[in-house]
């Protein structure tokens, strides 16, 4: 039950894109077509879960015992960059099909602020399971990271669907491209605000 509440809150209420503004660049950049949006979401979910696993371990097994938490930013981004490279290499060898689907998105993910953002969020912020609040343990961290990634995917895929429809309508010249996408995202964010009532 606790996990369900935390998942719903991460996917809908605190949607990483529409209420926390993390990962907006790929959101606007590769959401023109549903197929690319799905690919990007898959890649982000995969990397985000893995990255959170590694950075959680780095934080609690290296940085905290050594008392050098101030190295967090440097350490985390290095781990993520290395991880993305490794995933790319391994995927190419092990599953060419999956690499075909996700490969082109992987290099973009290092600088996707959602990945680093969630990694930092998960170790720095106290989360509340009904009852007590505490820092997350490893399993909870990975679950919540995956849930955030699912929220990212949901927003991304819905948005791509809307943008495909937008291509078919006559948009005033000055609104074309990013401006109308932003305004659409604003309306979606409003809709997502409605979820605040359910948790």
């Amino acid at each position: 039950m606790e996990y369900i509440i935390i998942i719903i809150s991460a996917v809908f209420v605190n949607n990483i894109l529409l209420s926390q503004f993390l990962g907006v660049c790929p959101f606007l950049g590769v959401s023109n077509r549903s197929s690319t949006a799905i690919g990007m979401s898959g890649a982000v979910m995969f990397v985000m879960a893995l990255a959170t696993l590694c950075t959680w371990l780095l934080h609690y097994c290296v940085l905290v015992p050594l008392g050098i938490e101030f190295m967090q930013t440097v350490g985390f981004i290095l781990v993520i960059a290395a991880l993305v490279q490794m995933v790319e290499i391994i995927l190419k060898k092990v599953s060419p099909a999956l690499y075909q689907a996700l490969g082109i998105f992987l290099p973009l993910i290092t600088t996707n602020c959602a990945v680093l953002g969630v990694a930092i969020l998960v170790v720095n912020k106290e989360f509340t399971f009904p009852g007590a609040s505490h820092y997350l343990n490893l399993a909870q961290s990975v679950v919540i990271a995956t849930a955030y990634a699912a929220g990212f995917g949901l927003a991304m895929i819905l948005f791509a669907g809307i943008r495909e429809q937008l291509d078919l309508v006559e948009v005033p010249a000055s609104f074309r491209g990013t401006p109308i996408a932003l305004i659409t995202a604003g309306i979606m964010a409003m809709a997502f605000m409605g979820f605040a009532g359910i948790v």
């Binding site: 529409l18 209420s19 926390q20 503004f21 993390l22 990962g23 907006v24 660049c25 606007l28 101030f70 190295m71 967090q72 930013t73 440097v74 981004i77 290095l78 960059a81 290395a82 290092t110 600088t111 996707n112 602020c113 990945v115 680093l116 953002g117 930092i120 969020l121 010249a173 000055s174 609104f175 990013t178 401006p179 109308i180 996408a181 932003l182 305004i183 995202a185 604003g186 309306i187 964010a189 409003m190 997502f192 605000m193």
Partner: protein, 193 residues
């Protein structure tokens, strides 16, 4: 030199023309001062990392270029984090997560790759300054509009009695205000041509 600075403010404005660094642009502009603080924080990192990368780029082997740049940028971001905690704690708390996220701001790595790596030190510093100022101005503008509409104030000074329309300081307002400002920017640059 001057050209490099103005270039970043208007012709290559990172927010309205290049559409980069959207996350902090949306996430921190709940007021004009917050937007300005975020812009200046990014400016600090941009100038220093541009200078450092311009100085060492020639000695870095091609294949480890990106990781090397990321380490340099992350180091300056951490310096900024520590300095802000010490001297501007209130702003540091408000901007929160978005300060460490300067590391992955596409503007910073983008300028390192596109400009600093192939230009001399002074020019790179000016480029960082220009782009940083452009970013600061855009964020201040977005912040000012949202603050005026959302809280009825400007730079913390109340202007409209009775506050504003709260939705503009919330998430949807960020997207909508930025969208309409971009429309305005497009309109102006169109009519100029």
């Amino acid at each position: 030199m001057i050209k490099q600075i103005t270039n970043g403010i208007i012709k290559e404005n990172p927010t309205f023309v290049l559409v980069l660094g959207m996350c902090p642009t949306l996430g921190t502009t709940t007021s004009a001062l917050n937007g300005m603080g975020m812009g200046l924080a990014t400016l600090f990192v941009l100038v220093l990392s541009n200078m450092a990368i311009s100085a060492v780029a020639a000695h870095i082997p091609g294949k480890v270029r990106i990781p090397a740049y990321i380490v340099i940028i992350a180091a300056f971001v951490t310096v900024l984090q520590l300095l802000m905690q010490a001297y501007t704690p209130a702003l540091y708390e408000t901007l929160g997560l978005f300060i460490p996220l300067i590391v992955v701001n596409c503007i910073v790595l983008g300028r390192a790759e596109a400009f600093a790596a192939r230009n001399p030190l002074a020019a790179s510093a000016c480029d960082g300054l220009g782009i940083g100022l452009g970013f600061t101005l855009s964020l201040t503008l977005v912040g000012a509009v949202r603050e005026l509409l959302g809280s009825g104030a400007l730079f913390g000074l109340p202007i409209v009695a009775g506050g504003g329309i709260t939705i503009f300081v919330l998430a949807p307002g960020a997207f909508i205000v930025l969208g309409f400002l971009m429309v305005l920017f497009n309109k102006i640059s169109r009519s100029r041509q």
